[in-house]
């Protein structure tokens, strides 16, 4: 038995192929080789136990049990295959024909199929086998009929999936008839899952048929199949377990062969479906290689001090370094905007600070201090407590960041109960207060997230962050998933919180206009590095990095000339898989010179609070229009 092309030759695939091939060979040659000894009675060897001549003993007429089991491979397999082919054929025909029927007839058949599916196929098969009369043909037909509703339903579901696709709509527009649609477009597209189900059903069918024979509803003496042999063997299981075991093992072997084949085929289908998961090569818990404690000198009065942060992520095509050499510092009560395109590494920077990077990521940094404490120097338990109470994260999409199964009260109180040892009553009182802080009534405590609007959910997230009274709030695109009107409410709320609690806020966004409006200082990130840091009030016309300039120029305002196209940045960010030397912005930069492609510019002070990583910063007086236009 050869494997279909494209099938991965895994050990499992080999095992399935070998087992199935052996079954086919047995079915072909079994009756020829062992048929004679299987039917030869021997009055001198009746009901014997295992011996050299009869490894599994003999039956009540002295016939060799093993020979009978091997010979029975053919009827057992043939009957099962016949049943599954008949059942699948009829079911697929019925299911597919409903796609051609009118709406009412389709609903009626679907209803009927559902009604029949309420009953287990084995029970239906038993019932029908009684009606059709005990015997091989009756059992086979009963089993086939019992399988029809399942296949019909599957075909119907699959066909409905295809019916919604674009190319079928196009074919319909072209005026193809229903039958042609079915034969040319629907069935070929669902052939693979149907084939897969038929394979699995072959195994089920074999087991069910053996079950019917075991009950006495299937093959009748003097004929025999595995189920019937098991029935005979079981009658004397107390005296001789082996004659009962032999046919049982045969059924088990065949069932496993089909099960394994289905597994291999399904795995193969899945592999060609969605993209494979990123393999994680080596487990790397919190910052491995583990940085030494200490790092750079601690600076007094900083909420967050990060120096030389690097993140490495595994991808199917090799490791990438989406963050390299990021340094930043926040003072109490400060709002700092971290701005950049998607993929610039700003979210990963936040996750690295909060120790929330995905599995397999590697972090290194010279310094990482939160509220003065060196995180690398803390024991894991203390570090958890320190991060949980010192830092609050607010994520992009509050609809997915809140647990749909838990009440707001639970989600608000659990952190303080775990880390501050607050009692339930005390924590609930604090939660009501936190909700009041974000202008939500205490009744929200009893709600679940799906009962709230998007803005309300983000307020709940913020309230949840406030519960631990953090020194630092990292808000990762907290307004991106929200309506524009709600965005302003959230930023205003964050400003108020900053004012009232003197927590520092690291506000991450791709929206340079929003950041410029709402933050005090701004970090501009590009391709994993910070390219410019400057006070927000200088953003509009004091930015020195060509990238910052281009970002600012791409924001439309009320004075923008609407007859001219909005300036955009040509080109794309560098591919993280193939890092090139030199300034990462060089290929897109209007001011590039030969020097830029070879040497990476360091982040250097231009003035107090203003640093830029560029060999040829834009002159301060320059008109932003010239940058965008060139």
């Amino acid at each position: 038995m050869s494997l279909p092309p494209g099938l991965r030759r895994t050990p499992m695939a080999w095992a399935a192929a070998v087992m199935l091939a052996s079954l086919v060979v047995l079915a072909l040659v079994g009756p020829l080789v062992w048929g004679a000894s299987a039917d030869r009675p021997d009055a001198s060897a009746v009901l014997q136990g295992p011996s050299v001549g009869h490894p599994f003993g003999t039956d009540n007429l002295g016939r060799d049990v093993l020979a009978r089991v091997l010979t029975a491979t053919r009827p057992s397999l043939l009957l099962a295959l016949a049943a599954v082919l008949l059942g699948a054929g009829a079911g697929i025909l019925l299911g597919a024909s409903t796609a051609v029927l009118g709406r009412r007839a389709r609903r009626l058949t679907a209803g009927l199929i559902n009604l029949l599916l309420a009953f287990p196929a084995l029970l239906v098969a038993m019932f029908l086998a009684v009606v059709f009369g005990a015997g091989a043909a009756g059992a086979m037909l009963a089993l086939a009929a019992a399988g029809v509703p399942g296949f019909a339903r599957l075909t119907q579901t699959l066909a409905a999936g295809v019916a919604g696709t674009d190319h079928l709509a196009a074919a319909r527009v072209l005026g193809l008839g229903r039958l042609r649609l079915l034969g040319r477009h629907v069935l070929p597209n669902i052939a693979e899952p149907l084939l897969l189900s038929t394979t699995t059903a072959a195994g089920t069918s074999l087991v069910a048929l053996s079950g019917l024979s075991f009950l006495g509803l299937g093959v009748q003496p003097p004929g025999y199949d595995w189920g019937q042999l098991l029935n005979q063997g079981l009658d004397r299981v107390y005296a001789e377990p082996l004659p009962a075991l032999a046919p049982g093992l045969a059924i088990l072997y065949a069932a496993l062969a089909f099960q394994l084949l289905g597994e291999v085929l399904a795995g193969n289908a899945a592999r060609r479906g969605p993209a494979p998961r990123t393999p994680a090569p080596t487990p790397a818990p919190w910052g491995s290689p583990r940085p030494k404690a200490g790092g750079g000198p601690a600076e007094e009065g900083l909420v967050l001090q990060v120096e030389d942060l690097h993140v490495e992520l595994p991808t199917p095509d090799g490791p990438i370094r989406p963050v390299h050499g990021v340094s930043l510092a926040l003072r109490p009560g400060e709002i700092v905007g971290l701005v950049g395109e998607s993929g610039s590494g700003k979210s990963l920077t936040a996750l690295a600070i909060a120790d929330l990077l995905p599995y397999g990521a590697r972090v290194s940094r010279r310094t990482l201090r939160l509220l003065g404490a060196d995180l690398a120097a803390l024991a894991p338990k203390e570090r958890d407590r320190h991060l949980a109470t010192g830092l609050a994260m607010i994520f992009q999409n509050p609809a997915s960041a809140l647990n749909p199964a838990l009440r707001v009260a639970t989600q608000l109180t659990e952190a303080v109960r775990a880390h501050r040892g607050a009692s339930r009553a005390q924590a609930t009182a604090e939660a009501a207060e936190a909700l009041r802080r974000v202008a939500l009534p205490p009744a929200v405590l009893r709600s679940r997230p799906h009962q709230l609007s998007g803005g309300q959910r983000q307020r709940v997230m913020i309230a949840s962050g406030l519960m631990v009274r953090p020194g630092l709030i990292i808000a990762d695109e907290p307004t991106t998933a929200l309506d524009v009107t709600v965005q302003r409410e959230i930023t205003r709320l964050l400003s108020e919180i900053r004012r009232d609690t003197s927590a520092a806020i690291l506000f991450i966004s791709h929206d340079v206009a929003l950041v410029g409006e709402f933050c005090e200082s701004i970090l501009v990130m590009y391709a994993g590095t910070i390219v410019e840091t400057l006070p927000a009030d200088r953003l509009a016309d004091g930015a020195r990095h060509p990238y910052t300039r281009a970002l600012v120029a791409s924001v439309p305002d009320l004075t923008a000339d609407r007859d001219r196209p909005l300036p955009t940045i040509d080109g794309a960010p560098p591919d993280p898989l193939t890092p090139a030397p030199g300034c990462p912005f060089e290929p897109r930069c209007p001011r590039r010179r030969g020097h830029c492609a070879d040497h990476t510019p360091p982040l250097e002070d231009l003035a107090a609070d203003h640093r830029v990583a560029c060999w040829y910063p834009v002159p301060v007086a320059a008109d932003p229009e010239t940058v965008a236009a060139s």
């Binding site: 006495g216 009962a244 075991l245 929330l356 999409n397 009744a443 997230m461």
Partner: protein
């Protein structure tokens, strides 16, 4: 949208429960009608004369005629159907052809034994698969321990393919007869439950383990688990309180779909262990061609399956009200 401090908590449609239960019970009645009609029609559809078949070819003609009359087989079809339904309403399930005892009596003595092993097997399936699937998902998430994952896949695929009655026969041969550890057959004491329940629950547990693991892997990748991580909650709280409830709906839906096959499986497994339930009674009467008993057993098993399905659906609707809405 937020309008100041007022919060409008949207509610489900006005009478979701009435609508859900109404539809679900309507479906139950339709299915019951199928079972009733099928079980009634069975004895009439059988080719040849079931009474003669049961009594033997050399039975006296007047005895056959008397039995046929007793069964009402000599009256018009619709009259028979009316009598059948009327009899059912009074708890009359007919009379056994071989023993002459009322079938209702047989059902009353045998149904509890079947429900016991089927129910226990279902509970064992849940008790193994729900925590087990979650545990394996946690251990193998994000590509951790790829070898354990492969082993899990192969082993559960194999176990899911083990036919219940073959396992039952194997267990009997090995544990009961070979090693003489457990009772071979019959229902006597707690230890007699072990083998039938094991045989019935092994394959469903393997199937459910895989489903729960897949579902738990999906949930573990959700944003809200990252939120839980950002709160530095203990692993136990993250997995049990945050992940587990979100896997329950899918897990129970699949578990519910495994239940009918489990009930049907009792017929074969009871035969192996001579378990005094509905299934072994059905197996015996099939061989003896005692059709009134087969008819009643089909009716009882079919109804059991339908009621179990209803129970699962209602349970799901209680646990996850959204599933009730999806149903409609």
């Amino acid at each position: 949208m937020t309008r100041g401090p007022t919060v409008s908590v949207p509610r489900l449609p006005r009478h979701p429960w009435t609508v859900f239960l109404g539809r679900r019970i309507l479906r139950l009645f339709l299915s019951l009608a199928v079972v009733l009609t099928a079980s009634f029609a069975m004895i009439r559809l059988i080719p040849g004369d079931p009474v003669r078949a049961a009594l033997g070819v050399d039975a006296a003609p007047d005895l056959v005629a008397a039995r046929r009359h007793a069964l009402g087989l000599d009256t018009p079809f619709l009259t028979q159907y009316r009598h059948y339904l009327g009899g059912l309403l009074h708890g009359d399930l007919g009379t056994s052809l071989t023993t002459g005892t009322p079938v209702a009596e047989l059902v009353r003595t045998r149904l509890p034994a079947t429900l016991e092993i089927a129910g226990l097997a279902f509970l064992v399936t849940l008790a193994v698969a729900l925590p087990g699937g979650l545990l394996v998902a946690v251990r193998t998430r994000d590509g951790r321990r790829p070898r354990s994952e492969l082993a899990f896949t192969v082993v559960t695929a194999g176990l899911a393919g083990v036919p219940d009655f073959v396992l039952a026969a194997g267990l009997t041969a090995l544990l009961a007869v070979g090693l003489q550890l457990l009772p071979v057959a019959g229902a006597a004491g707690v230890e007699s439950f072990v083998l039938p329940v094991l045989a019935l629950s092994l394959a469903p547990a393997a199937v459910l383990l895989r489903i729960v693991r897949m579902e738990a892997l999906r949930v573990l990748g959700e944003d809200y688990l990252r939120t839980a991580r950002s709160k530095r909650l203990s692993p136990a709280r993250r997995y049990l309180r945050h992940a587990a409830p979100n896997t329950a709906t899918a897990a129970l839906t699949v578990a519910g779909s495994l239940l009918p096959a489990l009930v049907a499986g009792t017929v074969l497994v009871e035969k192996v262990f001579a378990w005094p339930g509905i299934g072994s009674a059905m197996a015996q009467s099939v061989v003896a061609q005692d059709y009134p008993v087969v008819q009643a057993m089909v009716l009882v098993l079919g109804t059991t399956v339908l009621l179990a399905g209803l129970l699962v659906d209602v349970l799901l609707a209680v646990l996850d009200p959204r599933s009730a809405i999806r149903e409609m």
